[in-house]
């Protein structure tokens, strides 16, 4: 009995696919037939109209080309499920770094270390983060985007951005939900592969932990004016610096609020500009950072309180008559100002002198200005200046400045030059040199040779 069943199953397995193939072939034949009929119909129609207009002598040749074209267009129409696949793109980048100081000792003196990794890449050759992007309209109401970053060293995949965006709203409203680069300042919203320099400005490193991507919701309204004007608000979990702890605050409400506005327009045909103002307010709870204390021991410190960040940003782009194929110039700058008030706890793990708490209040600022000039179709040259001001940092209670030697008053700065070559829209090779005064009294000469390429779907870049 069992054997009979098995035989039947085997027979079925052998016959069914053949059947399926047969029916597939029949379907194909049918489709081909339909296509042929369609073409014949088109041909006939074309001949009729051509004859009518008294151009019969040309019609045969024309009909022939049109029919071949029509056939080509019909056959180029994808008929499989994959026709509805989202646009997929991959960004690959690699870098050779030559650093005069060990990147493991990288530190921006005068500022609280962020939770993000702001240090330069390791010396020598390294693969940068690879990006994998999927984007498509979900339906008539939503558009979805997922951008995953694959880190080469710890074999982990992170979600850089993963959000949905409305398409169906009117009156200038759009809503975004999920994880996205926060609209705080200008550079923060731009993916690293589209940056004009290999690394982020120092201000973005100390105030936003390199780049802030928030889990939350964004509402934006574009005003019905001919001058561009938008207003927006973001409510997030506070999952990353300057919020905290990592992963977001444990409460039902929001961990961060960001309000922003932009104004922009054109000056003649050659110049366009965009200026923005944003205010990010977070309430970090137990935001920890590891640092060396006065005794040279690595301790964990923690901050709970309120962090307020103001950013003023501006970007101006010029190209002759608005044609950026041959020459263009881009000027970009941002000014950051942050105040933090709350309670700072020293050595929470009792690794050195034992836990001590006290009030803390800081007023710090920083800015950068960069210009990039495209002097030949594929070649650009850029210069960037970074400046931070550690401002005031006052401690209360039992805390002493000796517990936090790296937070002492210091104004880091950096000069950067770069030249890059983009043989097509999809590839870029860049050489960059920076003299970085992030560490007090220890200037770092940094040389990067980097490639960035993009595969797949053609991305559109923000202004």
């Amino acid at each position: 009995m069992l054997r009979k069943l098995w035989c039947a199953a085997a027979l079925a397995a052998a016959v069914l696919p053949a059947r399926a193939q047969e029916s597939d072939a029949a379907k194909l034949r049918e489709e081909l037939q339909q296509l042929k009929q369609q073409l014949q119909k088109m041909e006939r129609r074309l001949q009729e109209t051509e004859a009518k207009s008294g151009k019969a002598e040309e019609s045969a040749a024309r009909a022939e080309t049109t029919v071949t074209q029509a056939a080509a267009q019909a056959s180029s129409r994808p008929q499989t499920e994959s026709a509805l696949n989202p646009g997929i793109s991959a960004i690959l980048n690699g870098v050779y770094s030559n650093l005069s100081r060990d990147p493991k000792s990288y530190r921006i003196n005068g500022f609280v270390p962020t939770m993000g990794d702001v240090a330069p890449p390791r010396r020598g050759l390294s693969l940068g983060e690879s990006e994998l992007g999927f984007t498509s309209n979900v339906d008539h109401l939503f558009r979805g985007t997922l951008i995953a970053s694959i880190s080469p060293d710890n074999d982990s995949i992170g979600v850089e951005e993963g959000y949905i965006q409305t398409l169906g709203l009117s009156h200038g409203f759009t809503v975004k939900a999920g994880r996205f680069f926060s609209a705080v300042g200008y550079q923060n919203q731009i993916h690293a592969h589209a940056w004009d320099f290999t690394d982020a400005p120092l201000a973005n490193k100390v105030f936003l932990g390199n780049q802030l991507n928030e889990d939350g919701i964004q509402l934006k309204w574009v005003a019905p004016t001919s001058l561009y004007w938008d207003l927006g608000a973001e409510f997030g979990s506070g999952r990353a610096f300057p919020g905290g702890p990592a992963g977001g605050v444990n409460k039902n409400g929001f961990g961060s609020t960001n309000l922003f506005t932009h104004v922009g327009g054109d000056i003649g045909a050659s110049t366009s500009w965009l200026a923005g103002l944003s205010h990010l307010r977070t309430a970090p709870q137990d935001r920890t950072f590891d640092d060396l204390d006065g005794t040279g021991t690595l301790v964990t410190n923690s901050f709970t309180g309120t962090s307020r960040l103001w950013v003023v940003d501006g970007v101006l782009k010029w190209s002759p008559n608005g044609n950026s194929t041959y020459n263009s110039f881009k000027l970009q700058g941002e000014y950051f100002r942050r105040t933090e008030d709350g309670v700072l706890t020293y050595d929470t793990q009792a690794a050195s002198l034992g836990p001590t708490s006290g009030s803390v209040s800081s007023r710090q600022s920083g800015w950068y200005l960069q210009g990039v000039y495209q002097f030949l179709p594929a070649w650009r040259f850029g210069y960037r200046y970074d400046q931070l001001d550690s401002g005031s940092f006052s401690l209360g209670g039992a805390l002493t400045a000796a517990n936090f030697p790296t937070l002492g008053s210091y104004n880091p700065s950096r000069n950067t030059v770069m030249v890059d070559w983009s043989p097509s829209e999809f590839s870029r090779v860049r050489l960059q040199y920076a003299r970085d005064y992030s560490r007090q009294g220890q200037p770092d000469n940094q040389v990067f040779l980097q490639y960035i390429v993009s595969l797949g779907a053609h991305g559109a870049h923000k202004f």
Binding site: L167, Y228, N323, Y326
Partner: protein, 301 residues
């Protein structure tokens, strides 16, 4: 009046400068579609062209001013076939405007309504910046203008019912003038038949096809890749053995490579308007074709 209040007033006027409220706002990605809309809609439309003849429609920044315009648009008309892939999708998602999203009557992708040329059989970026859907520069075949005009008329009537009679009337009048012009152009362009031409970018293919010319080379080694010295030297060599009659380029191309080839291989040089506004005579669509044919005839003699 102090300067601050003057600035405040200037800002307020700029902010309140709404496009004329009564007219339908048309956002054209390229000047040719703006010109077509103007022909069909007259003063019932307020037409804005996102690009000008001196700009390469492949490479446009998604500028704030364009977002502001598309936010208020009632109708968007673009060439499509991925010509605007680097900037239009961003404008659409940022617009907060559901009337002009793809699939709605307010969105027209012109190249969908004509028979496209040069649909690549192999799709590979190593072949340059190719358009999988076919060559998107469809407007230089005058018959395509008529086809897109029909679609545009129907959409205008759909969006703005109250004036549908007006649009139809204008479309009929335009259609008659256009047909007459096509017949005239066909006669004028007869001597161009079989003329060998070198192009800068493959943006003249529809005209070449319509006029029965022969494209024998392009200054770009691959679509979208700027001319290289090696490729130009090769082209000069080829032209010496097998000369083309004329080398053409568009206003947004750098003329140097075309001039070089023209001088080295001693073939005529013809800067063509490419789109409305691309030359003094190309003030409208009629002028565009008049001028293009005239310039080519001069060199074909």
């Amino acid at each position: 009046m102090n300067s601050i209040s003057r600035m405040a007033i200037a800002l307020a006027t700029a902010l309140l400068a709404f496009p004329a409220a009564a007219a339908l706002n048309v956002f054209a990605c390229e000047p040719e579609w703006g010109a077509l809309a103007q022909e069909l809609g007259g003063d019932k439309l307020s037409v804005y062209s996102a690009t000008a003849a001196l700009q390469d429609p492949h490479h446009i920044e998604a500028r704030p001013s364009l977002i502001a315009r598309i936010r208020n648009a009632d109708l968007v008309i673009c060439s499509g076939s991925e010509l605007e892939v680097g900037w239009l999708p961003l404008l659409l998602t940022q617009s907060g405007n559901d009337r002009i999203q793809p699939g709605s009557p307010g969105f027209i992708e012109a190249s969908q309504f004509v028979v496209k040329l040069e649909i690549p059989k192999v799709i590979d970026r190593a072949l340059g910046d190719i358009h999988p859907g076919g060559n998107p520069h469809i407007h230089l075949d005058p018959r395509n203008i008529a086809k897109v005009g029909d679609v545009l008329t129907a959409r205008l009537a759909e969006i703005d019912h109250a004036n549908s009679g007006f649009y139809q009337q204008r479309a009929d009048a335009f259609g008659k003038r256009w047909q007459a012009a096509i017949e005239r152009w066909q006669q004028q362009a007869a001597p161009l038949k079989g003329v060998a031409v070198v192009v800068y970018h493959k943006d003249m293919s529809y005209f070449i096809n319509w006029a029965g010319m022969r494209e024998v080379g392009s200054l770009e080694p691959k679509p979208g890749i700027p001319p290289t010295p090696t490729h130009l030297a090769e082209l000069v060599d080829r032209m010496k053995r097998n000369p083309a009659k004329v080398v053409v380029y568009s206003p947004y191309n750098n003329p140097r490579a075309a001039q070089f080839l023209s001088e080295q291989a001693r073939i005529a040089l013809a800067p063509l308007p490419f789109t409305v506004g691309g030359s003094d005579k190309a003030k409208d669509l009629f002028g565009l074709f008049d001028d293009t044919i005239e310039r080519l005839l001069k060199t074909a003699k």
